[in-house]
Amino acid sequence: MLNILYEITRFSSFLIIGFTLIRWYGKKKGWSYNVKIDLLLILSWNVIMSLLLIVMDLMVDNFLHSLVYFYQGIYLLFLILMLFISFFLNLYIGFLLFKILYKQNKQDAFIIILIIVIMELIIDNLVLYPSLLSFALNK
């Protein structure tokens, strides 16, 4: 179920942390890009990923529950699909945007993009559990 407050918190925390990390790494590596490009990278990356995850959420609400009732294996396939989108596709989009905006070899950014993706996943969980806890206790 789509939780607007959760989505907004996730979006803004990813924006702040992602931007801080890419600025720090850029300075460390000696890349001289201005703030606008860094912000554009994080913002566009975040928008694309948020849209994809919202589509996945809607898919779960509309189809998955009924399908899992008949085929238990669908649940595992869905988890693999989620892994594909939130990790591999996320990494790929990060590399692609980095290549387009920074015009540098994507191997240079492997570590920082991996760190941002993993930080995003950890933040996703850190934001999710307090929101679910309040929901569960109020139910």
Binding site: M1, M82, Q107, I111, I118, L121, D124, N125, L132, A136
Partner: protein, 477 residues
């Protein structure tokens, strides 16, 4: 020149649990120990933050609030399996770290008394198979790990933690929806099965450590495929032998030996009896013919040829990555599936899950067939070692290119597993809490989940650190 180097490379020795290991065996051992280091902390964390927390904050306070309403050994029954698992996984973690330290510290053989070392030049007799030193080390490691798991199962069984597997073993169908057994059988048959497995493991540990030097080129060494077939058949045979005893002690005059009167047979029991006999004969047949499987001579790969995996050309790095990923994913998923099987029995699995397991096993065997070639293995290790000098720091160790690739493979594979687990936690909690029938969890459950996520995050940082320090090993080629 190349052959001399090959010979020299395989004589670089490390000693682990008194077994002398060459470079190839050290590499496989390093992969296994790294899998332990990356996966076991997570299993240990789940034991502490989920099971132990439930015991400390829920079971024990409830018991002390009103002890008269609980069974006599309530605390022992709850705590013993939990603490046993924690001890066993801690021992495994310690062994993994010990092996890693030994392999990375490049300890010289000269320091160790050579009489105490189990040498490479020997052939071991194990259940009638002639095993090479490497195979003996594999069987030794497998038996050592299994021994700990069997001890865990016995303690769980004694703590009255009887699970579906034990019930499925002892209950004989007596109708379309009914089955019958007896308390004497339920108390003893699973224990007899675990004792039999315990004996097999002890025998394997002692048999594979014999120092008898009897190496001769004429002696035929068993293939790894025949050993795997034998082990699988032996497990099935032992399980169904115990079920045969259940039939004999319930439906024949042998029942009087244990003070029971024989029950009358019916079509369901007879059908089950025939199935048991068929499986016993089948597994015995495979146990016997596995001794006659010939070790297939692998084709020698020339300079211009290359090996492929599902039409993907395997370069040296891809070969090492594929081998590491295969061992990592199959260790993780086989632990999950085998634990589920020995707790919940075969009925736990849905048909689509069984299909998935079969597909995974086929892919595993296909991959194993591709990468299980000693000559190619040595050639790849040669090639990587011949390349330009490469050394990196990883914690306090200096690691070369080969070990860096292995570390990179295991840490990146573990990252994928951690992310997968994080997503599955996230998804299952979200779908449970949002379920209309949800009645609410205790606050302890949520704290457990948050602590599990914290453990996963810590392990992810560890994996990221390893990736950062080893990625150059595959980048620059």
């Amino acid at each position: 020149m190349s052959e001399n180097f090959d010979l020299e490379l395989n004589t670089i020795k490390t000693v682990l649990f008194k077994f002398e290991l060459n470079r190839t065996q050290s590499m496989i051992t390093l992969i296994i120990s790294l899998i332990g280091i990356f996966i076991l902390p997570l299993i240990l964390a789940s034991e502490i933050f989920v099971n132990l927390f439930q015991n400390i904050f829920v079971a024990i306070p409830s018991y002390f609030s009103d002890p008269e309403h609980y069974a006599e050994l309530y605390l022992f029954n709850n705590l013993a399996p939990n603490i046993t698992r924690m001890i066993i996984f801690s021992v495994f973690l310690y062994l993994s770290i010990y092996a890693l330290k030994k392999l990375l510290s490049n300890e010289k053989l000269i320091k160790i008394n050579k009489d105490k070392i189990i040498s490479q030049n020997r052939i071991v007799n194990w259940f009638g198979f002639k095993l090479s030193h490497g195979q003996a080390f594999f069987i030794f490691s497998l038996a050592l790990v299994s021994l700990f798991f069997i001890v865990q199962k016995i303690i769980e069984f004694k703590a009255s933690f009887m699970n579906e597997f034990d019930w499925e073993l002892c209950f004989i169908p007596s109708g379309p929806y009914s089955a019958s057994s007896h308390v004497i059988l339920l108390d003893n048959i699973p224990l007899a099965l675990y004792s039999l497995f315990f004996f097999f493991c002890l025998y394997s540990i002692f048999a594979t450590r014999r120092r008898k030097k009897s190496f001769s080129q004429k002696q035929k060494i068993a293939s790894i495929f025949s050993i795997l077939v034998f082990i699988a058949s032996l497990i099935i045979f032992s399980m169904y032998l115990m079920r045969l005893f259940c039939h004999l002690f319930m439906y024949t005059n042998l029942a009087s030996i244990i003070g029971l009167s024989p029950e009358s047979t019916n079509a369901y029991q007879q059908n089950d009896f025939i199935n048991v006999l068929a499986l016993l004969i089948g597994s015995l047949f495979f146990m016997i013919i596995s001794h006659f499987f010939k070790r297939r001579a692998k084709n020698h790969i020339t300079e211009n040829q290359y090996i492929t995996w599902f039409h993907i050309r395997l370069t040296e790095h891809r070969y090492i990555l594929l081998l590491s990923y295969t061992l990592l994913f199959y260790s993780f998923f086989s632990h999950f599936f085998l634990t589920s099987f020995f707790y919940f029995g075969a009925t736990f699995f849905y048909i689509d899950q069984i299909i998935m397991i079969v597909v995974m096993v086929i892919i595993f065997l296909y991959t194993l067939n591709k990468v299980n070639n000693g000559k190619i293995f040595r050639k790849i290790i040669n090639s990587i070692n011949n390349s330009n000098n490469f050394e990196r720091n990883w914690f306090k160790y200096r690691i070369d290119r080969l070990y860096s690739i292995i570390l990179f493979a295991i840490s990146s594979g573990s990252t994928m597993l951690y992310v997968f687990l994080m997503i599955s936690f996230n998804f299952s909690i979200r779908s449970t809490v949002l379920n209309p029938d949800f009645f609410g969890y205790s606050i302890i459950f949520f704290i457990s989940i948050v602590l599990m996520i914290a453990s996963l995050s810590f392990l992810l940082i560890f994996a990221l650190y390893t990736i950062k320090h080893t990625i150059n090993a595959i980048k620059s080629r």
